[in-house]
Symmetry: C2
């Protein structure tokens, strides 16, 4: 299996995906917690381009970008808990929605988190529109691609805990149960999968961290004006 280290932090919805993937596959790894306000020399060395978590270090080789890491984990340890489907078309559909999640949904949730006023309202409305599209993709199956947890469940998994934390700390509402019945039901099922439940970050701790993060981003933005 080799030596596996994961550089990450509780506040990153991107990093959490990798924790879930490694746990699902039963891969032992060493945790390297990062303080994003004071990044380690190693993080900067292993991800010099983006200087971000998560970074997976496997036998000394760094892999960066959460979707790339998920593919790597699935390519490398492909005998247990397959994340991507085998069929090329199903793989393509999975990759399409993973990219949609990051480029459209997560990016605009982040925007709503770091803004206020009209700008925040716009980002919130945009996120809701994009989630409408996701809602239409769900069929009421247990998970995104059927009966077992897979790639897209991990990619959208941040909805299970981070979205509520963003809503609470920035005074917005995105995941309305009546508007999003299928996403809400999926969220419940996903949160109760044992591996996920055991590794979900503590809500209260996240809230206090996100409160500090939001204040920091807002003060940075107002200093710019």
């Amino acid at each position: 299996m080799g030596e596996v280290k994961l550089f990450w932090t509780w506040t990153s919805p991107y990093a959490q995906r990798i924790v879930w993937a490694l746990k699902l596959k039963g891969i032992e790894y060493e945790t390297m917690f990062e303080d994003l306000a004071n990044k380690s020399r190693l993080l900067l060395e292993y991800n010099p381009v983006h200087k971000k978590v998560p970074v997976l270090l496997h036998d000394g080789a760094p892999i960066c970008e959460s979707l790339v890491i998920l593919e790597y984990v699935d390519d490398k340890w492909n005998t247990t808990a397959r994340l991507l489907p085998d069929d090329p078309l199903a793989r393509a559909t999975t990759r399409f929605w993973a990219k949609f999640c990051d480029d459209q949904v997560l990016a605009s949730v982040f925007k709503a988190f770091v803004t206020q006023g009209v700008e925040q309202e716009k980002a919130t409305a945009y996120t809701i529109e994009k989630l409408d599209i996701v809602e239409k993709q769900l069929t009421g199956d247990k998970f995104f691609s059927g009966e077992t947890i897979g790639f897209l469940d991990l990619v959208f998994g941040w909805i299970a805990v981070y979205l509520e934390v963003v809503e609470e700390t920035s005074g917005i509402k995105i995941l309305d149960k009546e508007r999003f019945p299928l996403i809400s039901a999926w969220k419940e099922r996903f949160s109760h999968v044992p591996v996920i439940e055991e590794t979900l970050p503590d809500r209260e701790t996240l809230i206090s961290k996100y409160q500090r993060m939001r204040s920091y981003f807002l003060s940075k933005a107002s200093a710019k004006k």
Copy 2:
């Protein structure tokens, strides 16, 4: 092989990647030219989320997003002209740089193309900084990953023709030969691979199309102000 159709247009650096991939693999396909000012009903039906080219239609199933299509083409027709390497780590590195190309380099080239003044200067400087990072990745090998053309060559292939067209139509300079000797040498080699050379769009036609596109974007932006 099934029925393969490609919805695309000459002006799209994303779509051109797929033409190259299909040609390299010797896959016959039907060309469905799109006029982006007047998109076809079929394009909107097959890519309702983004309404963009390229779309690959294989036996009636649409695949969207150029990097996703490239992976699909390589997954599906994996016996000739392999685009991705076999090794999981090399695959991860390839995916990392493909994402970097689209998110960092192409996005900022586009920004420089649709802006002017200080905004354009900033986008140009940003692009150059990002290309500095790409330059450092190249080793002087024939192609991005060695002796044969592969995934990253197709991803960065827009540099071979579209970048010059953007530079000329928007009055900026990005690919300076002295600053980017390795990228410039790669560009020459890449442009002369027979399959690439035969399918490169005509420079003069592109220039007149890009001139009209730039005027359109600039007038839209000034109407907004």
